[in-house]
Structures are given as C-alpha cells and as structure tokens.
C-alpha cells in the first residue's frame, strides 16, 4: 500500500508543470489545452516530411496519445521564444533507452541559433537533472540538416535502420560539446535567465 501510494505521488509530481528557461527560450510541460495546436503542427507538411509516421494524426488519436503520457516516463515540452509557441521537444523511454526529438513549426527559426539554445536547455535537463547516461535520436536518411546539427552536438552513429539512422549522445560527449556551445552562447549579450 505504501509503495502504491509512493508510485501515485511520483506520477502526480511528475505531471506538475515544469518550465525550463534561458537565452530567451522557454520549454514548458505540454498541457492538454495545447494538444490540438501540437496536432496541427505535427500534421503540417514541413514537419511530417521528416517524421517516421507520415499519416495525419486525428483528434481522437491525439487525445488517446496524450492520455497515455499520464502513466509513462515520457516528457513533452512546448518550446516558446519570446512567449510565442514555436515547436515541441520531447524524450521517450523505450526499453531503457532514452529517445529524443524536436521540431520547430516556425521555419524562420530553423536557421538561427534558436535550435542550439533549445537543446542546450534540454540536454542540461536530461543529463544534469535527470542524470541520464546517454540519449538517442533517429534521423531520416535524407534529413541532412538534422544530421549536421546533431553531429555538431556530439552525437555519433549508433545503429543503421531501414528508414533512419540512430545516433547516440553519451554523457561524456555531451559534456565536451556543451562546454564549447556554452562558451559561444555566452557571447550573447542577452543574459541567461
């Protein structure tokens, strides 16, 4: 009974809103009232183009997916820049592996430094707060932009699959790459909040 109560409490506290912020970027836990906005983003051509599942997601499927999050370790965050939602970032726990992903619905941000600001916040959360030892991501074979980006973060090739290649970022590689990244991002005149 005590164990069950502890597990319920853990799930409850896990689902409390979490906000990570810095460099003018905010990552906020996904709320139910945001899932239609996210579904619209996810079904847009320039986002689903690089997703493993190409079929549009229905409202019912989105609702069912959100409900499953309540009992999982997975975490999803809405990315905001200057208080405007611009994308989604997440990690899934799959058979003890941590799989991450993110997309920016706002295409104007893709060629800016915003992606680096986002992952700096997120990776610090994953490695320094959650204490994960390594994280993975899948990249479609023709997504050269994502490949360049993730290699610059210290990811290395982990496995080859039919649709994607799988990459791993170990704690050691994260620490080395993040030190260089922070040194450059600290050149920003805007102070980290």
């Amino acid at each position: 009974m005590i164990w069950k109560s502890a597990k319920v409490l853990k799930t409850f506290y896990k689902r409390l809103a979490l906000t990570l912020s810095g460099f003018g970027i905010t990552l906020s836990s996904l709320h139910h009232d945001q899932i239609e906005m996210v579904r619209h983003w996810r079904n847009s051509d320039h986002i689903k183009r690089y997703a493993r599942q190409q079929e549009p997601i229905s409202s019912e499927q989105q609702e069912a997916w959100f409900n499953t999050l309540q009992t999982k370790e997975d975490e999803y965050f809405v990315i905001s820049a200057h208080e405007t939602p611009i994308g989604l970032i997440w990690f899934n726990v799959k058979e003890a592996l941590i799989e991450t992903g993110f997309y920016l619905y706002d295409e104007t941000e893709q060629n800016s430094l915003t992606p680096y600001k986002i992952v700096t916040l997120f990776h610090e959360y994953l490695f320094d707060t959650k204490h994960f030892e390594a994280i993975h991501c899948h990249i479609l074979h023709d997504n050269t932009r994502a490949l360049r980006f993730n290699l610059s973060l210290g990811y290395t090739l982990f496995a080859e699959h039919e649709q994607t290649n799988e990459y791993i970022l170990t704690h050691e590689n994260y620490t080395e790459a993040n030190a260089k990244l922070l040194k450059l991002l600290k050149l920003l005149k805007r102070e980290r909040s």
């Binding site: 893709q110 060629n111 800016s112 430094l113 915003t114 992606p115 680096y116 932009r145 360049r148 980006f149 610059s152 990244l181 450059l184 050149l187 920003l188 005149k189 805007r190």
Partner: protein, 73 residues
C-alpha cells in the same frame, strides 16, 4: 586577416565546397543553417570581433556578415 582569408575560413567552417562571394544571399546558401550560424559566431570569436547575436541573425548576405566583421565589403 584579409577579407578573403575570412571568407575562406567561413567557407571551410560551414563545410561548403564552393567559395563564398560578397554578394551571396544567405538564403541561397544551402549550408547556411543553424550550425553555420554557430560556426560564424565561433569565427567572430576567433578573430576577436564582438558581435551581438541579434545583429548576426539580421544578416541577409555575406556582405552583411563581412561588414559586421569590420571589413569594408
């Protein structure tokens, strides 16, 4: 460092095969993505030029970047 040296360094750092030219628009350079922005920031740091990131993100052309780096492009 000359303007040509700066362009060559930037070209190498963004992993571009073709040379960069003063009148190139950033939107026409396939390699000009977020990684290139980070690399540009690093190049500015290497040559000792302080730059506001907002100014760098407002650049639309190689000419704009050269001017931010202090060259009379």
């Amino acid at each position: 460092m000359t303007q040509n040296d700066f362009l060559a360094l930037l070209q190498k750092e963004i992993q571009r095969e073709n040379a960069l030219h003063v009148n190139d628009l950033l939107e026409d350079i396939p390699e000009w993505d977020s990684m290139a922005m980070l690399v540009a920031l690093n190049v500015f740091d290497e040559i000792g030029v302080e730059i506001d990131i907002d100014d760098l993100e407002k650049c639309k052309s190689i000419k704009d970047i050269l001017q931010k780096a202090g060259f009379d492009a």
